[in-house]
Symmetry: C2
Subunit: 206 residues, 2 copies
């Protein structure tokens, strides 16, 4: 006896998830066989629903259910300040930190010389068009502090030169809870160079 | 901005898979957003198809698309010999080893005293009924060689005592490719006790 056809097809389909090989797909398929019908049906529905309701915002390219997205269409936000990120999930992370009140621009990835991903494969042209159309005062390039992220940031920074706007990068330094012993030299070196003067706390009167 | 509702619902639904937490579910949901529509649709269809077409065989309880399953309905197989396993996937594994030509009985789990899983929670009664209905000569209890598997095997073996049939367990020993240095003492002890005499190969004439 072979594995039933519908289970084989499901194992095949589940391997489309990143990092899911034959063995994990098999375990996932088994769990679906055991699941009650309504739970499995809701999972299937949720997959199709996302495909039907999510599309990139026509201005900033964040994944959204409305177009333009709620950030781009919010008059309370600073429309002169764009924060450039790699992916939609980075927008969610930035938003929950409540630090940025401007707009975003989602590149949809990073440049990678080895993999042949040039600036034409990510939304650099769309960013330049937004800046050229006027009204932008600052672009914060918040790609990840990785090799690809830095390559992308440098390329974008060069393209924005001479456009009369401020171009910035997030500060680099020690992340909260880090153990110096385990941090890489680059992070330590950044944290050292950008060291901040500590104002001594005034002595408490007893 | 919060994560769009349909993505939140998908992340929720994907956490029904075993071992998938919020972070992996988020990565899986992102991959669905990026997937082309047809691939995602096929994934959703495959989930529902499995729920609609798979049910346990009414005799041996293996997951099957036909009832009775192709093994139980095959007259060429030995209907006097039942191999008892924990799960449907164990049937697939046994079948691909091509060692068993009898029937199967899928328990649907193991007994576990701590978790309160008694013999009534797995299909022990159904096995006894099959044996009582006659015609069975041997029952091979092939539960996994784990604590729970052994507990289950002992319980079933006791129940089958006095029914006039042969009750067997698979041999224990060294698995192929094992490194003695890394094997547990129990396995080594089994392999030692059940050691086999090697017939010396006849010397080749030159």
């Amino acid at each position: 006896m072979n594995r039933p056809k519908s289970i084989r097809q499901l194992i095949e389909a589940l391997q489309k998830f990143p990092g899911v090989g034959p063995r994990s797909a098999q375990r996932m398929a088994e769990s679906i066989v055991k699941m009650d019908y309504e739970t499995a049906r809701e999972m299937a529905r949720a997959i199709v629903r996302v495909k039907k309701s999510i599309s990139p915002c026509s201005s900033c390219f964040v994944n959204t259910e409305q177009n333009p997205c709620e950030i781009c269409s919010d008059p309370e936000r600073d429309h002169t300040f764009i924060c450039v990120v790699e992916a939609s999930e980075d927008v969610i992370a930035m938003e929950s930190s409540k630090s940025h009140n401007g707009l975003y621009h989602v590149l949809g990835g990073n440049m990678n010389v080895v993999k042949g991903i040039g600036p034409d494969k990510i939304r650099v042209k769309e960013l330049l068009d937004r800046v050229r159309s006027g009204g932008i005062k600052e672009v914060l390039i918040a790609t990840n502090p990785t090799l690809d992220g830095e390559t992308t940031a440098s390329h974008i920074a060069r393209q924005l030169t001479g456009m009369g706007i401020r171009v910035t990068r997030p500060a680099r330094g020690l992340p909260r809870g880090a153990d110096l012993d385990y941090l890489d030299g680059e992070t330590l070196s950044h944290a050292y160079k950008l060291r901040q003067t500590v104002d001594p706390e005034p002595e408490r009167e007893i």
